[in-house]
Structures are given as C-alpha cells and as structure tokens.
C-alpha cells in the first residue's frame, strides 16, 4: 500500500496507508483487541462521530480489513464489526513496521 513517496520517507519498512491515519488506526487498534463490536460500542471507544466512523469503516471494508456482519438480537437487527484475518495480519505488520521505524531513528 505504500507509495514511492512514503518509501522515500520510511526506507526501512512498508507503511500501510490505509491504516496510517489517526482515526483508522484507532478503529483498527480497538478491533484488534476484541472479537467484534457493534457500531455504537465502536463509536464510544474511538470517540469518532457516527458519520466519521462510518466513512472510515467503509474504507477499511473496501481494503478487506474489516468484516461487517448483520445479525438479529431477538427481532432487532444488529451490525457487528470485526477485523478480518487479512486486517489482523495487516495491523500486526503495521505495528512491526512502526516499531522498526522508531527503533531505526537516530537519537
């Protein structure tokens, strides 16, 4: 996902541009530490507005990083969001890349 410009700035590692935005990083981080949440819980955890979160989830879903599942709790519809296996792997790789970059920085 990293562009040539990104690579020039971060020569040691690939930076995933989909995750590398503060809001999406937050969403990915919270989804990484739970199995799944509904939309409301994710709004509360991230502090994003529903519209903003919806837009970021759309981008993450497009990249194949999150899976949106419709369920029913009694008669009420419930949308659960979770990281896909690909998203989990991407987040792990992103974390390692960032740690590598920070470790390589001169004092």
């Amino acid at each position: 996902m990293a562009t040539d410009k990104d690579r020039a700035y971060y020569p040691q590692a690939e930076i995933d541009a989909v995750i590398h935005s503060p809001a999406r990083l937050k969403v990915m981080m919270y989804l990484y530490v739970v199995e799944s949440t509904d939309f409301v819980y994710l709004v509360r955890l991230t502090g994003l507005t529903p519209g903003n979160l919806s837009s970021h989830l759309g981008k993450l879903e497009e990249a194949g990083y999150v899976a949106i599942e419709k369920e029913f709790k009694g008669k009420k519809p419930l949308t659960m969001v979770r990281l896909s296996a690909q998203g989990r792997e991407a987040f792990r790789a992103y974390k390692e890349s960032m740690q590598q970059i920070l470790a390589d920085l001169p004092d």
Binding site: P22, L25, K26, M29, Y30, Y32, V33, V34, E35, S36, T37, D38, F39, V40, Y41, L42, V43, R44, L45, P50, S54, L57, E61, I68, K70, K73, K76, P77, L78, T79, M80, V81, K95, M98, L102
Partner: protein
C-alpha cells in the same frame, strides 16, 4: 504513537467501558443496605433468614434491567477475544468455589452448634474472620480482573458488615449504633454509583437507532 499502540491499555479500556455506568456500584450499595437491614427485619417479621433473599432479588432484577434498558442502548455491544473470556470464566469459577466454600462453612457451623465438631474447629471458623476473608479475597479478585480499583475499597466495606450484624444480634442495648459504619459504607457506594450513572447518562446519550451502520 506509542500511546496509540498500547494494545493492553486499549483492551482494558474496551472492557472497563461497560462498568462506567455505576450500576454495579448502586447494586453493591443496595445489597449492603439489605445485609444491614435483614437482621433488623428478622427481629420483627416471621420470615427469618429469607429476608436477605427477598431484599436481594429486586436488586438483581433492577441491575439486569438497568444494564438492558440504560447501558446497552447507549454503549452498544462487544464480544471479547477468547483470552479475556477464559480469564472471566476462571474468575467466575473461583467465585463459585468461594460461595460453595461459604456454604460448607455455614454447614460446619450448624454441625458445630449440634456439638458434632471439636471446639478448635469452631475457633478456626469464626464467622467474622471468615466473612472478612471471603469479602476481601473475592472483591480483590474482582477488582484485579475487572480493572476496577474501587472494588478493593468495597471489599473492605463488606468485610465490616458481619461484625455489625453480630453486635446487633448479641448487644440489643447498643440499639442501631453497630449499623452506622455499614450504612455509611453503603451511602459511599450509592454516592459513587449515582455520580457514575449521572456522568454516564450525560456522556453517552442514546444514538439515533441502535443499528446505525447502513451496510447491506
């Protein structure tokens, strides 16, 4: 960035968010009031030991209803990773064992009353010491697992209720004086619960509809 990637902290936040509604504190405070009132009611009514169950049941029902009607619509739902679920099951098992242990101790006391157990066992099983130990241990375990430090304080407050009950039963001349520390403790829990609930209701107004994410 390091703060943003503190995954342990993030998991803890995801978990403790569900306990910010103050309902647990209110239920524990009311339960403590019930524990204090039960011996008084036992004196005047014919239901004896059933009072504690009669007083506790509506508290449990109110807690469940509050979670369902107040918390879930405002906070939503979350499912945790297997590691967290296993930890919670382990704690539930330990607490179950403690309750079972308490029942066994109660039975031992009954037998002791019948003269079936040696005296030294009775000294070891002093109900005040056991109640304090069980309260402190179970609340500390819950505080550690749930990440709610105020439960340590609640454990100490619950530990004090048994001496108050014992004094009330054995020293009628003291009147309601032995109840005061426990009632103050209950008032503290209720005040904390009330404060948390007010803050929760202000911080998390209901979102427009539970299923807001318009996919599919």
């Amino acid at each position: 960035m390091p703060e943003a990637l503190d995954l342990q902290q993030a998991e803890r936040k995801a978990f403790t968010l569900a306990f910010q509604d103050g309902l647990l504190d209110l239920a524990l405070g009311l339960e403590l009031v019930a524990l204090v009132l039960a011996p008084l009611l036992e004196r005047t009514r014919p239901l004896a030991d059933w009072w504690i169950a009669l007083l506790s049941l509506p508290i449990l029902v109110a807690l469940a209803a509050g979670k369902r009607l107040l918390t879930t619509p405002r906070l939503g739902r979350v499912r945790f990773l297997p590691a967290r679920k296993v930890r919670m099951q382990a704690v539930a098992t330990i607490l179950g064992i403690i309750v079972l242990g308490g029942l066994l101790v109660g039975m031992a006391w009954f037998w002791l009353g019948q003269g079936h157990l040696p005296e030294w066992v009775g000294e070891m099983l002093s109900p005040t010491i056991l109640w304090a130990a069980i309260s402190l241990f179970s609340f500390s375990l819950a505080a550690h697992t749930l990440g709610l430090p105020r439960l340590y304080l609640y454990g100490a407050m619950y530990a004090l209720v048994h001496p108050a009950q014992a004094l009330l039963r054995t020293r009628p001349d003291l009147g309601a004086l032995p109840l005061v520390p426990s009632l103050i403790s209950a008032a503290v829990m209720l005040a904390i619960g009330g404060l948390l609930l007010t803050r929760f209701l202000r911080a998390y107004p209901p979102l427009a509809g539970e299923d807001l994410y318009g996919h599919g």
